[in-house]
């Protein structure tokens, strides 16, 4: 079975507070960058998965996100399969 690479990005849902992102956004002007906004901090998870095709790989990784890799109460996720 082919091996697929999955790149998962987990971020806060819009409307959920992101104190880490807000803190970085406040710190950047002190370094001279006054034109930056909308800083959000998330996490990246990379993995490989054996699957018959890319669609099957994506479906499984989505399921893994729903169950473990992200908490749908507070997080959104994006999956890229290559």
């Amino acid at each position: 079975m082919p091996v697929f690479e999955a790149h998962v990005e987990v971020t806060h849902l819009p409307g959920i507070a992101d104190p880490a992102g807000a803190t970085v956004e406040r710190a950047l002007p002190a370094l001279g960058y006054t034109n930056v906004a909308q800083v959000h901090i998330g996490k990246t998870i990379r993995l490989t998965v054996d699957a018959p095709d890319a669609e099957a790989a994506r479906a499984q990784v989505n399921e893994m996100c729903e169950r473990l890799l992200a908490n749908p109460v507070i997080e959104a996720y994006e999956v890229v399969i290559t």
Partner: protein
């Protein structure tokens, strides 16, 4: 007949001995429930204590919720068994969907280690039956991710059905609606961020946690009697 309270231990849990000590001084027996075994050994109540289960890796409680013991804890909770999650335990219960919502990083991004004043909002729970509505209890908090959040519908439902168990008098972490602890619809599953076991003796600075632990022992006693 002696009442038995089970205290769950995950790799990284660190409050189990304090919880055992505080409960045993109230006359109940306690035993540790190792995360790797799918059983609650027929105990009358379960406490999921504080600490850093699985190092808080990925998200607090995210991995712990899949430990074998949580299957048994879920069955115990759904059958009406008194179930209390303290701090990391509250996070585990939310990840396990035994309670709604989630705990996020504190709004000030500081790890908080301090006394907190909690107002008891309902006595219809396994943890507050011996307290009075309006009681203000001084109980320590010790957390980086205690900022409770849930969607507006869940919040409205919890407000309407009196499922918000404790509110902070002076919200230290940005929790939605100043929530420090909540319960399920039946009131047998309670989660709270503060540590009642650390307020179990005047020598510790406060024994305000005793009334909560006594409520839990009473709930456990009721369950033991019921199931005999």
């Amino acid at each position: 007949m002696s009442v038995r309270v089970g205290v769950v231990v995950f790799p990284g849990t660190n409050c189990e001995l304090d919880v055992q000590y505080a409960i045993e001084q109230l006359g109940a027996q306690t035993e540790l429930l190792w995360h790797g075994e799918d059983t609650t050994r027929g105990v009358d109540a379960v406490v999921v204590p504080g600490g850093f289960a699985h190092g808080d890796y990925l998200r607090t409680g995210a991995i712990a919720r899949f430990s074998p013991v949580m299957h048994a804890v879920g069955e115990h909770a759904r059958a009406g068994g008194p179930t209390v999650g303290i701090c990391n335990g509250f996070q585990v219960l939310c990840e396990a969907h035994l309670l709604p919502g989630a705990l996020q990083k504190n709004a000030g991004l500081k790890f908080l280690c301090a006394d907190a004043q909690l107002r008891v909002e309902t006595t219809s729970t396994a943890l507050t039956s011996r307290a009075k509505v309006g009681d203000v209890l001084t109980i320590p908090i010790n957390h980086f991710e205690g900022n409770y959040v849930c969607d507006e519908f869940t919040l409205a439902e919890m407000q309407e059905t009196e499922r918000i168990v404790f509110r902070y008098v002076d919200n230290p972490n940005g929790s939605l609606d100043d929530i420090a602890g909540i319960c399920n619809a039946e009131g047998n599953v309670v989660g709270l961020m503060p540590h009642p076991e650390r307020a179990s003796d005047v020598l510790l600075g406060s024994d305000d946690g005793v009334v909560l632990l006594k409520s839990l022992v009473a709930a456990a006693t009721g369950r033991a009697t019921l199931l005999v």
